[in-house]
Symmetry: C2
Subunit: 190 residues, 2 copies
Amino acid sequence: MALIFVTGNDHKFLEAKALAFLFGIEIVQEKTGYTEIQSDSLEEIVRRGVREVSSKLGAACFVEDAGLFVHRLGGFPGPYSKYVFLTIGNAGILRLLEGVNDRRAEFRSVVGYCEPGGDPVLFVGVCPGKISTEARGDKGFGFDPIFEPEGGGGKTFAEMDVGEKNKFSHRGRALRAFMEWFKGREIREI
Amino acid sequence: MALIFVTGNDHKFLEAKALAFLFGIEIVQEKTGYTEIQSDSLEEIVRRGVREVSSKLGAACFVEDAGLFVHRLGGFPGPYSKYVFLTIGNAGILRLLEGVNDRRAEFRSVVGYCEPGGDPVLFVGVCPGKISTEARGDKGFGFDPIFEPEGGGGKTFAEMDVGEKNKFSHRGRALRAFMEWFKGREIREI
């Protein structure tokens, strides 16, 4: 039975699909919207959202929310990464860090799975790295062109194909944890 | 009967109280939290919030949400002004506008009033102005030190006392519209 990924973001779906394939899981995209609350905590946003949407659909499903947290900027843009990307963009983040030596940042991803009426189960993935001094690459989306993951040989996410990005990425890590759990559960239920 | 203003922000309460006094309305502060959704629309955030909190309290009440919208930054920081203030602050906004001539910005405020089980009534106030080239003044809160309202003689909000700020401000405008409506309604109901 196919697993439902509720997301309006085709890039995210593509990343998840590539990974799910390795686990022998089939996933389908569902673009139904759900309430995202304002919170400093991705976990809280995901918990509320997946509970709502699994009830609305009357089906088990998962959602994912992610953010870029820049140390020197107090965690900004954090849970509001999408809005910040759509307004000030990569150029804005680079500008805020002009002349700044401490360029440490991390991407965080939270995957939430829920069955209707049940309690959400959450999986967290973190990818440490740093903000590059200029945007590079045209793959991926959002802040990918300015983020160099640790262990990525200085490449930005936007310079990696989906498979390579998934090895390092916050979302890859959270999704792998989720899929391992999900497979184990399926097996126990046979 | 005192009117309940649901806000955790003491500065906002002070501004509302000063204005309510002029209308002969007594207001009290209630710090109960409520859900703020992620949305580009302050109206939507307020509508959902005030409906929830009036049900929770079982009493008529009002809430207020505001944001600073900078033209050149695509409306950033907008509905996420509080988070952006707490992370990159005034210095961050000034940095994003370094060397930028178009410094137009506006503060927007939405006041929402709701009775339990009823439909929210909204009042909007806008204050056009511009972002100063440096922070000035120590009154008010948030982005007040970098915002010069139109007609304010080049002063920032943080260089004005509460009474003067209320004359120009987005919040003053929205609150006045609300209080006029509220008084008119009281009179009709006698």
